[in-house]
Symmetry: C2
Subunit: 231 residues, 2 copies
């Protein structure tokens, strides 16, 4: 089954109070089973998760990062790697200066799964279509250079697909088979977005229909402290 990833072009600058679902539906013809990936940045703007910051004072940004962190894992120079209230471990608690007007920062959505559900529900209400929605953000990782997009919230699509109990091509039980499909879909969508091209949404068409169930990044992907070897 072939997968298609379609950038949503020419979205306008999103402002507080804008309805992301409506902006998307004006620009793309969705089909049942599509997964719409929207970046955290436009979701945060629509939800007015913007906060003024003194752009000439580097400590002002840092103070917001500290406040948004429930625990700091590492510091080096200007970089803080910390855990957010939602359990994400990322740089600067997700508090972001890029693609935001000077003098403002964008905070992560309070509950990105809920943000995804709202967009999904609005799409269903307007079109009758069942689609998946993923809110993505750009995170670094230990051990590997370069950033990749991951899911911070989802609705109508699984975050993790558990293939345990399946068999490999030798008929032997698969051992390690929990795949974070929401993260892979977010990464795939980033390939058509591009930070500098300003495309903040994409449609992924053709994913396995079995993955189109109610999902939650927080419940399925955020690793509880007790089972985490690196926290």
């Amino acid at each position: 089954m072939t997968l298609t990833i379609i950038p949503v072009e020419e979205l306008p600058e999103v402002k507080p109070g804008d309805r992301v679902a409506e902006l998307l539906l004006e620009r793309v013809e969705l089909r049942a089973g599509d997964v719409v990936v929207v970046t955290q940045k436009i979701v945060s703007k629509a939800e007015n998760r913007l906060e003024p910051v003194d752009a000439d004072d580097p400590l002002a940004h840092k103070a917001i990062v500290e406040r948004e962190s429930v625990r700091v894992l590492r510091r080096r120079g200007d970089l803080i790697v910390s855990e957010t209230a939602q359990g994400f471990v990322c740089a600067n608690a997700g508090v972001d200066l890029s693609n935001v007007e000077r003098g403002w920062v964008a905070l992560l959505p309070v509950d990105a799964d809920r943000s995804a559900r709202r967009i999904r529900d609005a799409i269903r209400a307007r079109t009758g279509l069942d689609v998946g929605v993923i809110v993505s953000d750009t995170f670094g990782r230990p051990w590997r250079r370069g950033l990749t997009d991951v899911a911070i919230g989802c609705a109508g699509v699984a975050a993790v697909v558990d293939l345990r109990g399946g068999v490999d091509t030798y008929g032997r039980e698969l051992l390690v088979t929990e795949v974070a499909v929401a993260d892979e879909i977010a990464a795939a969508a980033e390939l058509v977005m591009g930070k500098a091209r300003g495309i903040p949404a994409a449609v992924v068409r053709g994913i396995d229909p079995a993955w189109l169930r109610e999902g939650s990044v927080r419940a399925e992907i955020v690793r509880p402290h007790g089972e985490d070897l690196f926290r």
Copy 2:
């Protein structure tokens, strides 16, 4: 620009000495600029990176994992998270029992960038086409549940794209903009593979032509110890 991800179906079971490029070309019509993603498993089989193991002795597998590790980061139960000679940090040093005949394990390729170059060169020699090749494997990550596919080797396609010096949609210089596109392409390809479906290769069509330069996962993605906050 729309991206298409095409599974390469009905590849035969790969055996030591098989030519991966030829097997692929018999089953898929490539175009210039395509990126072919092949899983580590078939590359390791073709390169005869297989080793017999006593399937009834759990310590036998573990001994190979220890030997393939240059440094162990964490142990819990049967799980070892360690660093390989190539600098990858992953579970069990990449030594894998699944999708291999009982009584054997598959080791990682010695140099997966070189594996990718060989396949790329063979495709070019037979077709005259310039394509990218990525060798992928399935890794866990700290802090997030679920596995995702990442690149362990590449040729003819960038591992990391550096957008530094670019500007965001507000015309401000982008700060954090090194994107691990090879990892995102590997993740995208996994969406059409599926561990249990036994599809070990996919073609990603439509990526940004600017990314089609000579790349190296080892040089661009493996993070040197000195700059790694988590090793």
